[in-house]
Each structure stands twice: as structure tokens, then as C-alpha cells.
Amino acid sequence: MGLNPRRSSEAEAAEQQNASRRRMLGWLTGVGLFGSGILSAFSNFVFIKPRATYGAPQRFTIGKPTSYPEGTRVAIEPRRICIVRDGNRLAAISTTCTHLGCIVGLSDTGFACPCHGSRYDQDGTVTGGPAPKPLAWYKVSLAPNGELEIDKDVEVQPGTYLNV
């Protein structure tokens, strides 16, 4: 022991190599476990995010233009839209309040929200209350069978009408 300095330094080198291998293995184990944790957390997240929903469809038809005569302003409540007819032009305005998602009611001056008092004019522009933006206007088109088709996934510029 210690008599042969060469052997001693060899043993030291081997010991050092062992230590660095242990450190490396420990590090790999740590990364492996941590990575698996992250992966399983992510897959749980993917799992609870539904791919298909069971609610009402976003695109639907609402009948022929003739059922909405000149001057119509009628809310189709289950669909959360209001159909407006101005002359020969038709549009669909959302009745979901842009504030917190309550259903706005038709009022004399436009729309009013019962939850937090937001008010809108006839075109859905905010005139009072906490609503941060105007009511959405949705794309209206004529389906091949002559019925009006609303697509709530496509918002259009307020003031965009469909000529019928």
C-alpha cells in the first residue's frame, strides 16, 4: 500500500472512472424518470381533452329566406343567434354576450345582457356595460336546397349582409 506509486495512481484512476460512470448512470436515471413523468402528464392532458364533442353542431340551416319577411328581428334561442332582415339583406348576429357568455335579450335599442348589464345597439356595437367587444356576426349563405345556412365557426365583419 503506497509502496508502489504507479499502482496506487492506477487504482485511483480506476476509482475515478467508476465515480464518473456512477454519476453518468445516476444522471441518466434522473433524466429517464423525469422524462417519463413529463410524458405521462402530457398524455393525461391529451386524454382529458375531448377529440369529439357531443354538443349542438356549429353549422346548421334555419329555413327559407321567405320565412323571414322584411323588417324581421328574431332571436333563434336554441342556436343563440338573432336573424336580422333589412330590405333584401339578411344577417345573423350572435346573442352570446362577449363579456361572460350569458344570452343577451332583444331590447328596444338593440341587445341587453341580464348578467352584468352590457348593452349593445341594433348592430351589436357595445353602448354600455363591461362587454369588451361587439357581438359577433356569423357567415350566412344559401344552401343548394334554397335554405339559409349559418356557420358559427366563421365570423364575418359586422355589417356584412347576404342579399336574397
Partner: protein, 422 residues
Amino acid sequence: MTPKKGSLLESARELPSNVWSSIFRNPLPHNDVERSATSFTNFFLHIHPVKVNKNTLRPMYTMGLGLMSFFLFLILVVTGILLMFYYVPSTNQAYDRMLDLRGSVAFGTFLRNMHRWSAHGMVAIVFFHMCRVFFTGAYKKPREFNWLLGVVLLLVTLFLSFTGYLLPWDQLAFWAITVGTAIAGYAPLVGKEIRFLLLGDANVGQEALLRFYVLHVAVLPVIATLLIAVHFWRIRKDGGLSRPATAEVKPDLAITVKAVELDPKRTYGLQGLVRGPMVKVGNVPDNSVYSWPNLLMAELFAFVVTLSIILVLSMLFNAPLEEPVNVMHPPNPAKAPWYFLGLQEMVSYSAFWGGVGIPGLFVLLLVLTPYIDRSPEGVGVWFSKKRLLANTVFLTFVILNIGFIIIGTFFRGPNWSFVTPW
């Protein structure tokens, strides 16, 4: 005739006492040694210290608020599990089941009342418990982390209430959740995603009801139980409840031989590891009393008071149930339960700042409190003069919060316009 030793007859005769002593290793204590042993030998008591400082037992110091929160949680677990036997988380059945609970289930109304009033009570008591801890400076070192756990527990309590009141599927439930999840949607970046994950759909419906049910009866109670356990454990590890420095008596009579530091090459028993090798001689005055019976009596008293209040309330007042959900017509005004009306009032000014910004900042401030206010002074007394600034700031928040709740509750009418209640 005395039965022969070891005979069947003797075993039979001694059966009751043998069974009893096999369950309870410690007799009902008659002396200090046996009193000390109660905490060690009983599973349900082993979270208690052997002795407890007299200051901890002063009713006017803690007002028993933490214990009351815990007992309300226990009542909620028991009544909640019972209610689960009759509840179905389906949009077609949930409301009918509420009516059945009222009309055809024995004690149905009573259990639902207990669950509802305990839930309201827990929100209030947890809040007051936080106020007590703040005004006595109890969050200071070494109790910073337990304060943090407490803040998380307050949020879990609120979220438990929030998920709970969708379940009756009445008008209040539906519109409160519509508003509440829309508020979540205002959070920056992840808001829309969180809303979608919570609801499981674009709107509040069957998926949302199922998700809130699972959160309410499984996920959140498990989280709460775990956090409560750590919260309690930390009380012991942080040296018991906070108390003024004057409540400590230096045990100068004790002969204590404490190692300067632990020898890393020696093996220590648990006590040696915690306190260092130490010899304590005699019964030294240290301003503490035995947990059995002092602390246990105080706990029993808090439990009886809590349960009695809930029982009386449940006999006097029925839990409200509004009309069944009508997704076309929100009630006007659509109001959340009282503890969210402060939030709703702020939301009426600005959805982002009222619903996300200010509450978020407030929670952040609460979390950081023990790490900002680090002066060790004024711990263990109510409204210490040395903590005038901190207490004033906190009191302002409390008054503002309560003020907003009062405005939202009594001064808001149809379309959330200002009305006077008289």
C-alpha cells in the same frame, strides 16, 4: 371455584378484558407517564404532541377556526358520500334527483341542508382562519410554508364549492358555471384551453356536468385531504402553533447535554436525531400542559360546537333549489353564490381585471406575504403595534372584499343595475 390456569374457562372469562387490552395498549391515563403514552400508542391521537403550550389552548387566540374548518370538511365528506348514493350526474336526471332527495328520501332534505350549510360555513371559516393567522403574524418563520399550504387550501375550498354548485343542475348552477368558466377564458394564453378542458365542450352541458362531478367527488377531495394532512403535520414540525416569545419559559433547571452537532458516522434514534442527545431531568416548568386531556377536550368542544351549529341551521333553513335549467333564459340578475359575488361585482367593471388580473395579483401577494414580511416581531398577539403596516394593508383587502360582496349581494338588481335593498 376459580378456573384452572390456562383452561378454556379462564380464557372465556378473561376474553373481554383480553380483547380490550389487545386493542388499547394503554389504559385510560392516571399519571403523567400514561398521559404521555396516549399520543404514542393510539393511531388516531399520534398526530398530537405529548404536551402543548398553554397559549395554544387560549380560546381567544385561535378561536378554534382551523379546527372548525377541518370538522366542517369532515361533515362535508360524510354527508357528501351519503348524497352520492342518490345522485346521478346526468343533465336529464340530476334535477329530478334533487326533487327526489327532497320528496322521497329519508333525511334527504336534511343531509342536503347539512352539506350546503357546511360548504358555505367552510368557505367563511377558512377565510376567517386566514385572517386570524395574518393578524397574529403566525405566518412568519418557520411557518412560511404552512401559510403557503393554507393559501392553496383556501383556493381548493373555493374550487370545491364552485364545482359543487353545478351539480343540482338548476338555474343558479347553470348560469354561475357559464359565467365562471367564461372568466377562466379571459386568462392570457391558456384561458380558452382551460375553459375547453373544464367544460369538455364549447358550452356548458352534459360533459361539463360530468367533469365537475368527478372533480367535486374525487379529484379535489383527495387533493384537499392530502394538503390538510401536510398542513397538520407541519404544525408539529414547525414547533406547534405560533405564540409570543413571552410564552416560552427557559428550562434553566433542566440538565441538558446537547451535542454541538450530530456525528455523521453515528447512528441515532429518532429522538436523538430530532433534538440531539439530550437528558431532561425532573418536571421542569415550561408553560405547557398535557395534551390528554387538555388539547383533546378543546378539540372535542370545537367539534361539538361546529356540528351543533350545522345541525341547528339544517333544521331551520332548507338549502335553496332554483328552477330547472333553462339554457334560453338566464335569470335576471344572474347571481353567483355570495362568496363569488365580490368577484362578480368586480367582473362587472372589467372582465379581465375583475376576474383574472386583480384576483391573481391578490393570490400572488398572499403567497409571497411570508417571504416579503420577514421581520420576526409581533408574532403571537392579535393586532401587534409592531405590525401596524402589514395589518392595515391586509385589513384593507378584507374590507374591500367584504364590501364588494355586500354590494353584489344587496345592491345589484336586474341587468346588474344599482338598486337599494330598502
